[in-house]
Each structure stands twice: as structure tokens, then as C-alpha cells.
């Protein structure tokens, strides 16, 4: 599955990074970077948590 970021909404608050540091990273440019192009199925709970936690509803799961 993939994680989709709505860049117009994302404010780089970093709560997703706090949920899964190996998937989400706020870069030196202040933008959110997704570190895994394809996220393994066993991480679905983490992704759902990150989507739920996002203050700006900028994250969604594809697949």
C-alpha cells in the first residue's frame, strides 16, 4: 500500500513522524518526505494511526 500526502494541507507538524519514524520524515526543507514508496501490509495500523493523528487531514492510504 502507498501513503498519499496532500501537500496543500500538510503543515509539517510532524505527528506522523512521531508515529512511524521509518516511514515519515520532516526534511531539512521543512517538507514531509515519505521514506517508503511501498509500505508493507503489516504496517497498516501505524499508517491508519498516522492518518488519524494528522491535524490537517493531509494523509491517506492508497491500496
Amino acid at each position: 500500500m502507498k501513503i498519499v500526502v496532500d501537500k496543500s494541507r500538510c503543515s509539517s507538524i510532524g505527528l506522523c513522524e512521531a508515529t512511524a519514524t521509518d516511514i515519515f520524515q520532516i526534511g531539512a526543507d521543512g517538507a514531509l518526505h515519505i521514506l517508503m514508496a511501498e509500505v508493507p501490509e503489516d504496517r497498516r495500523t501505524d499508517l491508519e494511526q498516522a492518518c488519524e493523528n494528522c491535524p490537517t487531514q493531509a494523509l491517506s492510504i492508497e491500496g
Binding site: R9, C10, S11, S12, I13, G14, L15, E17, T21, Q25, I26, G27, A28, D29, G30, A31, N53, P55, T56
Partner: protein
């Protein structure tokens, strides 16, 4: 659908959370009132605060949000509950709002852009980079008190940690550090006669604004001519929507960083020291594995301290909250100290439990767009100073009751004595 009652005819809740006396008391006393509200009237309408900075005839009162779940909901509805009209209980003169509240009193879309800009400086990677500074600053502060045996813990320890670290990050040189840390206290201390020393509150706040902006403008000019590796340089170089930030924008962000950076962590360290003195069995548990247990203990220290007690929002339009009809323009105040004592979320919140896990405290915010930018910085600082203190001065403890602030925003400790067996130094003395 609830009946619509206009603001003017809405009856006030009988509980007093508006008076100066209420805020001049202790957290324990306030908690009795909050517990009653949480149990029976979780969303309630109250008379305006009695000692505002200036008389605001339009201020008819505020909604009090005291439960954990409701606080989280308000912070996560930024379209309904705005920050742009101010984040403090009291109405503030617009000049002060513009000059000192930076992006905390800002709404999307502008907030989104400024926040993203700031995020670059507070990433875990950036903070790991400055961790050695944080540790070195902590060591130096303990070096300076180690031989004394008795200190004013607030001025000689708690205030210095955040001052050094936020100034390092922002790029504030040594000669301005004590000034900015001192001035930042007036953000909430403008009603404290001990700080005011006879000055008029409004005049004193304007003096703070002008002092901080004077330093900001000096630094802006310096970084434009010679860039450094600090936040001030990032701000003068930044572009938002293809435009550079104005000097006033930068000064306002600068003021926010100083106030938010100094006045919060300072309180957490002070309350933490008091708590570790009051709960010896918790401290003993921590000391059994200081390095291993400190991260989780720091969360409980932050919950216990709840350094920011309130944040305000303003209703953007008529809306519902917890079954109440909220009218456009109503002030909605979230009580963080109350939410952090909510028995729906915390088992025996009145007891310090350093092993509390999970610890869903909302001291850094309820997970909204204004979630604390400096949360990781705060955690690192609190961890570093307690590691240093508890290792080198193992019997350090507070003496008597702390002198507390009388504000409704920061959970201020004005002054507090701590005593310890002076450290035995080997080798040369400093």
C-alpha cells in the same frame, strides 16, 4: 438542535474560574473546581476575567472546556475555532497581538506556510545535532551551583536551561540573553506586582515588546549582512508565497520563540524538581535505572507541570460543541491543567506516577495544527538537566513551598529554594 441564546442573555456558571483570587491560588485548589466542572458541566459559560490588561466592553465571557476529549476536539477543529484573534484569556491590544504572538495566533493558510518554515529547524535530526549543546549547557549550569549547597532553583537552574538552548537555536548572542529571558516573563507576568514593581501593566508590556523588537531588528540587520547557521538567518532568507517576510513578521516570530521557548520549559523543570522532592518513592524508582526510565518519567513530569494552563480560541461562526450552541465570536478557553487531570484518561491523576504508560497528556497540545513546535526540544532539555542534577547532586530537594505566579496562562514558579550536599570536586577548582 439546542435553543439559541444570545451571548448577552446566557447565564453564567456559578463556579468561579474568572477571578484573580482563583488564579492566585494553587493548582490543587483550582483542581477542585475543575473536577466539579468535568463531572457535571464539562462545557460551561463564565463571566469575563476580572483583571484584564485593559477594559474591553465587548468581553462578555468565555466558554470553559475542561475535559480531555473536548479539548482534543477543539484543537482539532481549527476551522471552527480560530487562533487569529488571540490565544490568551484576556483581550489584548491588537498591537501586542501582532507584535508578540507570531504564528501561534495565526490561522491557515498563512499559519500553514510559516509553520512549515519553522518545522525545518525543529526536526528530530536538527535537534539531535544540538543535543550536545543541550548537555553541555546543563553541565555548565550544574557546575555553577555544585559548590553552593543552596540555590534559588528557578533563577539559577530552571530559567537558564531554556534560555541558553533557545538562544543558541535562534542565534541570540550572550549579551542579550538575560534581557530576553527576563522580558519574556511579562508575557503573563504583567499582572504580578512582584515583577511589575510599580509599573503600569499595559505600559510594561509595551516596553517588553519594544525591547524584544529592538533586539530582533538588530539581529535581522546583522544576519542580512552576514548569514549564520541559525533560525534568525533562516527567517531573513525565507520566502512565503514568493515574498520575503517583513521585519515586523520576523520580530513577531522572534518574540513568540523567546516567550514559548523560555517560559514553558522553565516551569516544567521547577515543578519537576518539586515533584521529585514530594514523591521520594517515585524518585527512588527513577534512580534505579535513570537513563532507561528518564524518557517515560519526563512525560509524567510534563503532565504534572502542565506549564501552559490555558489556550483560547474564538468561534469562527455559529457551531456546536458538546451539545452547546456556540455563537460566532464567542471565546472558547481550553483548560490544559484540567484535561491533564481527567480521570476518564488518567488513573489517579492526582498522584505522580513516573512509570505512567501510556501517558496521553495534552501539555503539548491536543494534536491540532498548533501542536507545540518545541516539544522534542523541551523533552531533551528536561531530560538533560535532570540527568545532570540527579547524578551529581543526588540529594537535591526543594525546601518549603514555592512562590507561585498569579497568571492564568503559564503555570509559573516565581521562586523556589533547593538544597543539596555540595559536590566534592576532585582536581582543580574552577
Amino acid at each position: 438542535m439546542t435553543a439559541v441564546i444570545t451571548r448577552a442573555e446566557r447565564p453564567y456558571d456559578p463556579a468561579d474560574i474568572s477571578s484573580s483570587e482563583f488564579w492566585a491560588g494553587t493548582a490543587k485548589d483550582r483542581e477542585k473546581v475543575f473536577a466539579e466542572l468535568r463531572a457535571s458541566r464539562p462545557i460551561s459559560w463564565h463571566r469575563p476575567v476580572t483583571n484584564g490588561m485593559f477594559a474591553d466592553p465587548n468581553d462578555q465571557g468565555f466558554w470553559a472546556v475542561v475535559r480531555h476529549a473536548d479539548l482534543v476536539e477543539v484543537t482539532r477543529r481549527p476551522g471552527d475555532f480560530l487562533s487569529g484573534q488571540g490565544i490568551t484569556f484576556e483581550s489584548l491590544p491588537v498591537e501586542v497581538l501582532d507584535a508578540a504572538q507570531g504564528f501561534i495566533a495565526m490561522d491557515p493558510p498563512r499559519h500553514t506556510k510559516i509553520r512549515r518554515l519553522m518545522a525545518a529547524a525543529f526536526t528530530p535530526k536538527q535537534l539531535a545535532r544540538i543535543d550536545e549543546h543541550i548537555v553541555a549547557n546543563s553541565r555548565r549550569i550544574v557546575d555553577d551551583i555544585a559548590a553552593k549547597g543552596s540555590v534559588n532553583f528557578v533563577t539559577e537552574v530552571a530559567a537558564l536551561i531554556p534560555m541558553d538552548n533557545i538562544c543558541d537555536m535562534v542565534g541570540i548572542p550572550e549579551e542579550h540573553r538575560r534581557t530576553v529571558a527576563y522580558e519574556s516573563q511579562f508575557a503573563d507576568g504583567w499582572r504580578d506586582p512582584r515583577l511589575l514593581q510599580g509599573a503600569d501593566p499595559l505600559a510594561r508590556v509595551f516596553q517588553t515588546v519594544s525591547t524584544i523588537h529592538g533586539i530582533a531588528h538588530e539581529l535581522i540587520a546583522a544576519r542580512r549582512s552576514k548569514p549564520e547557521n541559525d533560525l534568525m538567518t533562516a527567517l531573513v532568507q525565507a520566502e512565503v508565497d514568493g515574498e520575503r517576510l517583513t521585519d515586523d513578521d520576523i520580530s513577531s516570530i522572534f518574540a513568540l520563540l523567546i516567550i514559548a521557548g523560555n517560559d514553558t520549559t522553565r516551569q516544567s523543570i521547577s515543578h519537576g524538581m518539586k515533584a521529585l522532592s514530594d514523591f521520594p518513592e517515585q524518585r527512588a524508582w527513577l534512580m534505579e535505572d535513570l537513563d532507561g526510565r528518564l524518557p517515560i518519567a519526563v512525560e509524567e513530569i510534563i503532565r504534572w507541570a502542565t506549564p501552559i494552563m490555558t489556550f483560547r480560541r474564538t468561534a469562527a461562526h455559529d457551531t456546536e460543541l458538546g451539545g452547546h450552541h456556540i455563537t460566532e465570536g464567542d471565546k472558547v478557553i481550553m483548560f490544559y491543567s484540567s484535561a491533564n487531570m481527567d480521570t476518564e484518561v488518567f488513573d489517579h491523576p492526582e498522584q505522580l506516577n513516573l512509570s505512567r504508560s501510556p501517558n496521553k497528556h495534552i501539555a503539548f497540545g491536543g494534536g491540532g495544527i498548533h501542536h507545540c513546535l518545541g516539544a522534542q526540544l523541551a523533552r531533551r532539555q528536561i531530560s538533560a538537566i535532570f540527568r545532570e542534577l540527579l547524578t551529581r547532586l543526588p540529594d537535591i530537594h526543594t525546601v518549603g513551598e514555592p512562590e507561585l505566579g498569579n497568571g492564568n496562562f503559564f503555570h509559573t514558579v516565581v521562586s523556589m529554594t533547593a538544597e543539596f550536599t555540595p559536590e566534592k570536586r576532585t582536581g582543580s577548582t574552577r
